[in-house]
């Protein structure tokens, strides 16, 4: 296998897009190609991550459409749909193409235009990833699953509403430093939890989760250009090496798990990624975790091996995961505040980490970041992709 590097990275500001799905993807693909400094070289393949184009935007075969829109023929093109893990799954496909020698240059673009429909339909669309007979038909949505998960986690590990709010406040604060973040709004513990008005400012969504515990519905796209490390060196690009990717699955229905608070697929995916990278969680300097709900940042930080089970909230409390802490988590603002256009999310996490490793993250730069970790969480933890990136000097 050849070593693979990321040589180009770009994303749109998440939020609401006024352009079509494919044009939205172009808005990150073009700057990523430019960032890669390809000159007259052309990409061999385009891999697109998208979850809802067929249903929400009446657009299928999105990768073919993107190739056409950018005149990238005869590049191979394929669309990957893997729920909210579509982004990092597409990235994995691109990685495999380079590593195997099937391609020398690959464009990976994730994009979603979810605000084309109202919130109820967007929620229903995302809920369609749940088990059709065991969950969906009973009205299960992702917020409701996350609410059940959170309640159990609180009972078992002592996580409190205050811990959840601390994740939200931290990630909103980080997003204020990220010009690409959807929500650029400072929030405070007083305003969302302690004040008598907090109950109105921050209403219940799915007990015990409140509005500020949930990510927004976003449009957006993110793109990466992959090459072999050898080619990256020839092109004179800074080398961000893909040190390891791990993927794991778990039962479709959450109720079938022996312990529903055990996010086994996160643990297994992380272990595989770290094993391939020959690194351990203690070696990581910055991480992007899939905090579609605040509880997930805490739970994933434990399952990925950064903190012992049940100790993630304590680390949060101590400031370990804040931007100036020992292991900053979600410096981008995370899904919580940067936004969560489902197909784009996994790619956008890696875009942020590439910028961090190159020292290009501006005000939210994690000093001296050399090794980075991403967790892209599909379904309700039934399909997870973990990635370790390393800066090579």
């Amino acid at each position: 296998m050849r070593d693979v590097a990321i040589i180009g990275a770009a994303m749109t500001r998440f939020g609401r897009a006024e352009v079509s799905l494919v044009d939205l993807m172009c808005l990150s693909a073009l700057p990523a190609l430019q960032d890669a400094g390809l000159g007259d070289r052309r990409v061999d393949a385009v891999v697109v991550a998208n979850m809802g184009g067929a249903r929400i935007n009446r657009q299928t075969a999105v990768a073919s459409a993107l190739v056409d829109r950018l005149s990238l023929y005869p590049a191979a093109a394929e669309t990957v749909e893997n729920g909210p893990a579509s982004g990092s799954s597409a990235f994995k496909v691109g990685f495999q193409a380079i590593a195997s020698g099937m391609a020398d240059l690959v464009l990976v673009t994730g994009g979603e235009k979810m605000r084309a429909v109202d919130n109820l339909e967007a929620t229903d669309f995302v809920a369609s990833l749940s088990h059709p007979e065991a969950e969906y038909i009973y009205g299960v949505t992702l917020p409701s699953l996350a609410g059940l998960f959170t309640r159990l986690y609180m009972e078992r590990y002592g996580v409190t509403a205050e811990h959840l709010a601390m994740v939200a406040v931290k990630n909103h604060e980080n997003a204020l430093k990220n010009p690409f973040a959807h929500i650029q709004q400072r929030i405070t513990m007083e305003g969302i939890l302690f004040s008598p008005d907090a109950v109105v400012n921050n209403p219940l969504v799915a007990d015990p989760l409140r509005m500020f515990d949930c990510c927004p519905v976003s449009d957006g796209s993110a793109s990466l250009v992959l090459a072999s490390v050898d080619l990256a060196k020839k092109l004179g690009r800074p080398i961000v090496k893909v040190a390891g990717i791990g993927q794991a699955t778990d039962t479709h229905a959450v109720q079938e798990r022996k312990d529903p608070t055990d996010l086994l697929a996160v643990r297994q995916a992380a272990e595989k990624a770290f094993g391939r990278a020959k690194l351990a969680p203690k070696d990581i300097h910055v991480a992007e975790l899939h905090d579609a709900f605040t509880i997930l940042e805490i739970a994933e930080s434990e399952e990925a091996g950064f903190f012992p089970k049940g100790k993630g909230a304590k680390a949060l409390e101590k400031g370990t995961t804040s931007l100036s802490g020992k292991l900053p988590i979600n410096p981008s603002g995370g899904l919580k505040a940067k936004g969560h256009p489902v197909g784009a999310t996994g790619v956008a996490q890696l875009v942020e980490l590439v910028w961090q490793l190159r020292g290009e993250a501006g005000e939210r730069q994690v000093a001296g970041a050399k090794n980075a970790f991403a967790c892209n969480f599909g379904g309700f933890g039934n399909n997870v992709v973990a990635t370790v990136l390393v800066r090579e000097d």
Binding site: D118, Q185, S195, D197, V200
Partner: protein, 229 residues
């Protein structure tokens, strides 16, 4: 021959005695304090200045809401609308949002508009709730007729409260079939949706004495841009 004041007497609608809206303070999600208070006619020109940049913003129907609100406040200033009032939300004295409406007799309110200049903090929702509070709790009306011009408004009012249909009555805003908030619905929703505390501490109230305009204007004016091409 009639002088100007006689003519004005003919043109000016009669007025209902309306108790004032007592100011209140709301802690926003950002931790900032927003003072909600009623304005007087002399403050209308300041509000018109704040509203004008939104007249060309199509996004979220800011254009139609702004244009109608502009006209309604002008009519309020020049006594050409009956029993209108206007509440504003001020953060450190800076205008964050405007709501208005009028009393349609002693028992019924007519909700006009809600314009949020500061987004992402439920400013519009807080101000709409304050407006309903005024109609039901201070004016003692039994019901308020409401329509929504934007999807956000529909979600915030019709769905969140929730409102009932009263489609047999046309609303003053374009003859659109009305929805209604009854006092029963209001009091049921109050714990969830109506925030704020009274009295407002003196120092905080002082910051809201003079309305300051926001420093930033809306991002773009799509309709105007298109016309100039």
């Amino acid at each position: 021959m009639s002088d100007g004041s006689e003519l004005e007497g003919l043109l000016r609608p009669p007025a209902l005695e309306m108790p004032p809206y007592p100011p209140k303070a709301i802690t926003l999600a950002s931790g900032e304090e927003m003072v909600v208070r009623q304005i007087v006619r002399e403050e209308v020109p300041t509000l018109l200045e704040a509203i004008a940049p939104f007249l060309w913003v199509e996004r979220d129907f800011y254009d139609i809401v702004s244009a109608r609100l502009f006209a309604e406040l002008l009519a309020f200033k020049r006594y050409r609308v009956r029993d209108e009032y206007c509440l504003v939300g001020l953060i450190d004295g800076v205008l964050a949002g405007i709501v208005n409406g009028r009393a349609d007799g002693p028992d019924r309110g007519m909700s006009y508009h809600t314009l949020s200049l500061r987004r992402g903090l439920r400013v519009g929702a807080h101000l709409f709730a304050a407006k309903m509070e005024y109609h039901v709790e201070f004016l003692g009306e039994k019901e308020v007729l409401i329509v929504a011009e934007s999807p956000i408004g529909f979600r915030r009012w019709m769905i969140e409260y929730p409102l009932e249909k009263k489609f047999e009555v046309s609303h003053e805003l374009g003859g659109v079939p009305s929805w209604v908030l009854t006092s029963k619905t209001y009091f049921a929703a109050k714990p969830r949706l109506v925030a704020g505390r009274r009295p407002v501490p003196g120092a905080l109230l002082e910051t809201a004495k003079i309305i300051k305009l926001p420093e930033t204007k809306p991002d773009k004016a799509p309709a105007a841009e298109r016309r100039s091409r």
